[in-house]
Amino acid sequence: MTMNSTGRPTAPTSVSAAAIETVSGSRGLLQHEDLLFEIGTPETTGVDLPKPKGLKSRLGGVARKVDTGLPGLSEPQAVRHYMRLSQKNYAIDLGLFPLGSCTMKHNPRLNEKMARLPGFGDIHPLQPQATVQGALELIDELATWLKTLTNMPAVAMSPKAGAHGELCGLLAIRQALIARGDGETRKRMLVPESAHGTNPATAAQCGFIVDEIKANKRGRVDMADLKAKLEKSEDVAGIMLTNPNTCGLFETDIREIADLIHKAGGYFYCDGANFNAIVGRVRPGDLGVDAMHINLHKTFSTPHGGGGPGSGPTVLSEALAPFAPVPFVVKDEDGIFRLVEQVDGEASESFGRMVAFHGQMGMFVRALAYMLSHGADGLKQAAEDAVLNANYIQARLKHVMSPAFDGYCMHEALFSDAFTADGIETIDIAKALIDEGYHPMTMYFPLVVHGAMLIEPTETESKAELDRFCDALESIARRAAQGDDTLKGAPYLAPAKRLDETRAARKPVLKWAAPDASKVAAE
């Protein structure tokens, strides 16, 4: 034979990964990365700027005394810094992200491309309006879509996110009450106990007093409690109701609730965070709503970006429309678009300005690209698929987990922790999902369900993906029911183990500090 001396093992031998220690701190593809402040220096920079000429300063002595001392990185170092960090994140582009109430759906890249057109991304909010007619037209077109989908006569486009939209709606209600002469007396805002935290927080920010209403056994507003709360109605400003609600259920009595609140002299604010379940099938304007924010970063797929930005246009009824904030876009008879920016003339009843400039234009472009792509037919189909997917998950898991309520759900399936053995909690199930390669569901919200697990798959998951997810969660649920203690240590396979939140809160370290030189020397 001819001797081959280049032979090497081609079949693997098995050693447990846990046993392998590395010198670098990296683990294969998962690269270790220190803080910017530990790897950069203040002298380093990743940009090439021309040298200043050394002109005489016109700051008049109002000059910074102490340099920031902030480190920089060269471009290749910076790219690696952020790429390595990115590898420690889960993302919708990686897999199912069933965070209930958050509507983590696919974010089309077309939307990103459109938002970056110089005609949208590189225009200034205060340049002459004649030079931004296309931008104003886009805002007007998006406003038309939102008004049509909700069957509402007006929309305020400037709110920056859902909570800011809530503020917009409640400020409109406040202004309407003031205009009626009821501003001082009507201060009570009814808020179901299942509401998202932003609802009571917004009401309080607006100077209203929150009055909680109970949920009934079916997860909806307890009508008896509502009626009792409305018996004495002279101080009622309105109600803030989420629909579909935070339990993932449509409020069956919504028309009656709207009528009751109107009869009591109040207004109906609807939290539209869950619009994705009904868009294209049900129009909130047909339900008696006076104001509703729409999270473009939920229903209309603008990316969440790890916490924002969002956008929260707020539709308004005939009763509240006159009080809408400035600015808004009007189209004059000559076809020219115009911004109304001051509280006078056609905006003389406006409650004022909530924010600098005109709202989240970057999000408007993305949302409109999404709406145009889907169209009226596609949006309806999207809502139906979102609801179908959630009901499929509920059907597949209801035998091993505990559905919080009977019957079908809308776009999210809600379970309580009733099925778990003593000592196993919702958080353990959530963390075990991480090891299976999923982002956990929303946990411990809404507050009305013990150990709540709120699962929102959205419409952009295939059946195969849903089945894989259900298989994983089903097996975890069985382990939880049997009291499998290994769940308490999960996740085992994530970039980090469970973090010590007590320590973080007791002795907050909220920024990097240079190590104390004397201590370093002593070591």
Binding site: E33, P42, G46, V47, L49, K53, R58, L59, V62, A63, D67, G72, V79, Y82, S86, K88, A91, F97, L99, C102, M114, A115, G119, I123, H124, L126, T131, G134, A161, A163, H196, G197, T198, A201, C206, G207, H304, G305, G306, G307, G308, P309, F351, V355, H358, V365, L372, H374, A376, K380, V387, L388, H439, E459, K463, R498, L499, E501, A504, V509
Partner: protein, 447 residues
């Protein structure tokens, strides 16, 4: 439809598993009268990528972009260069398409960048602690005012006459909704110092801005002393974050709260949003801060890690007693900010600031060399106000014909304040010598 993976067969088999006849079964709680029979009327059906792109590109083409010619608009948003790397980083799926880092084990990427962002913002503003961002500068300013009222248990908020009018409006709105009294000092180009005289024993805070909306830079130390002497706080506002590279920052002037706009670093103009609000405070005020905070800790193996912390301030826990209702903030814009800042480094930012300042100095000199043009801003960083012998709107329209976007007429921001002949003008590192010459030449022609 390209965004929907379910096939008709999938739908049928899933309905069978569920035991429902059709999706209509899921909507039976909807009142009969509100059930649409078909699609929402009045809207088009779905379209392919090409058609959507064509439509939106047509709209975009109707707008004049800031890069397409000499451009001098500032007043709260600024045309700066954003490195290509920044845009690449914020388009990484792992940052772009993830949620608020509620599950820290699989969000260390976002959390570490937030921790770095907070550290940078604290250092830039020379304050102790920064949060993980607000919507923008104007809402940061409004939140600072109501926070000051909470801290001092007082009800009066005083706004300088140099505060950006949009910031003043947003602040007034929130304060009045909470029953606070807002005192707006008269418009003054160099009036930040007046705040010291206005403060009294009922004042919760005074809000000053440097550089202010007319570009005037002011050392607010005297205002801080006056405020502290009466038990009030100083809120120091800025709209141009690049100024922090060379102008006296809030912390060096004794501010208790710094609130500003971070758009200038890493973020494009975007017709006004999304931007990123910067918010920082003195240590002792941390528990009254609005917004998210990221903190350092360790994981079960003892490795360093980061989590959202001090959440009992926030709406999801404290509900109607929360320090703010903010939930979604400006995460991705904060990432753009921090990654651009990382590329710059402290030295790079200083150099960038100097380039901005020099461009503005040269522009101011060139414009005031035109007979009849008066420079109104006594001390400035990268923007200033001029008075022209003609109506500002007419001047800007004629400049426009010469292909120059010459600034913002002051009367757009201050409609009733007799500033019809005043133009607010900004220069940045993007402003070239040719741009400056073109502006001065055109102005000479016009006047």
């Amino acid at each position: 439809m390209r965004y929907l993976p379910l096939t008709p067969e999938d739908r049928a088999s899933m309905l069978a598993t569920i035991g429902a006849k059709s999706v209509d079964d899921f909507y039976t709680d909807v009142p009969e009268a509100a059930r649409l029979k078909g699609k929402v009327p009045g809207l088009p059906d779905h379209q392919g990528e090409l058609a959507v792109e064509r439509h939106l590109t047509r709209l975009a083409a109707k707008n004049r972009s800031a890069s397409s010619g000499p451009f001098f608009v500032g007043a709260g948003a600024y045309k700066h260069h954003v490195p290509a790397t920044v845009d690449m980083i914020i388009q990484r799926s792992e940052f772009l398409t993830t949620y608020t880092p509620y599950q820290p084990e699989i969000a260390q990427g976002t959390l570490q960048t937030l921790f770095e962002f907070q550290t940078q913002v604290a250092a830039l503003t020379a304050m102790d602690v920064a949060n993980a961002s607000m919507y923008d500068g104007s809402t940061a300013c409004a939140e600072a005012a109501v926070m000051a009222a909470r801290v001092t248990r007082r009800k009066k908020v005083i706004l300088s006459g140099g505060l950006h009018p949009h910031y003043a409006a947003a602040t007034r709105l929130l304060c009045e909704a909470q029953g606070l009294e807002v005192v707006q000092l008269p418009v003054a180009i160099d009036g930040e110092g007046e705040l010291a005289k206005a403060v009294d024993g009922e004042t919760a805070c005074v809000i000053g801005q440097s550089p202010n909306v007319f570009g005037t830079v002011t050392d607010l130390s005297g205002v801080a002393d006056a405020a502290h002497g009466k038990g009030a706080l100083l809120v120091s506002v800025f709209t141009e974050a690049v100024s922090l590279g060379m102008v006296t920052p809030p912390g060096e002037m004794g501010a208790d709260i710094a609130a500003g706009e971070g758009q200038s670093i890493g973020n494009g103009l975007n017709f006004g949003g999304p931007y990123v609000g910067l918010f920082s405070v003195r240590d002792k005020l941390v528990r009254q801060m609005p917004g998210r905070l990221c903190g350092e800790t360790v994981d079960a193996d003892g490795n360093r890690g980061f989590v959202l912390t001090l959440s009992t301030r926030e709406q999801h826990i404290r509900r109607d007693k929360a320090t703010s209702n903010i939930c979604t903030n400006s995460g991705l814009c904060a990432l753009a900010f921090t990654s651009h800042m990382t590329l710059l480094g402290g030295k790079g930012l200083k150099q960038l600031a100097e380039l901005n300042h020099e461009a503005a100095v040269e522009l101011a000199d060139a414009l005031t060399s035109v007979k009849g043009v008066e420079l109104l801003t006594p001390r400035f960083f990268n923007e200033f106000a001029i008075r022209t012998p003609m109506d500002a709107e007419a001047v800007l329209a004629m400049l426009d014909e010469a292909g120059i976007v010459g600034g913002v007429r002051a009367s757009r921001l201050f409609p009733g304040d007799h500033l019809g002949d005043v133009i607010l003008i900004a220069a940045t590192e993007c402003t070239t010598a040719d741009d400056i010459a073109a502006y001065a030449d055109a102005l000479k022609e016009i006047i």
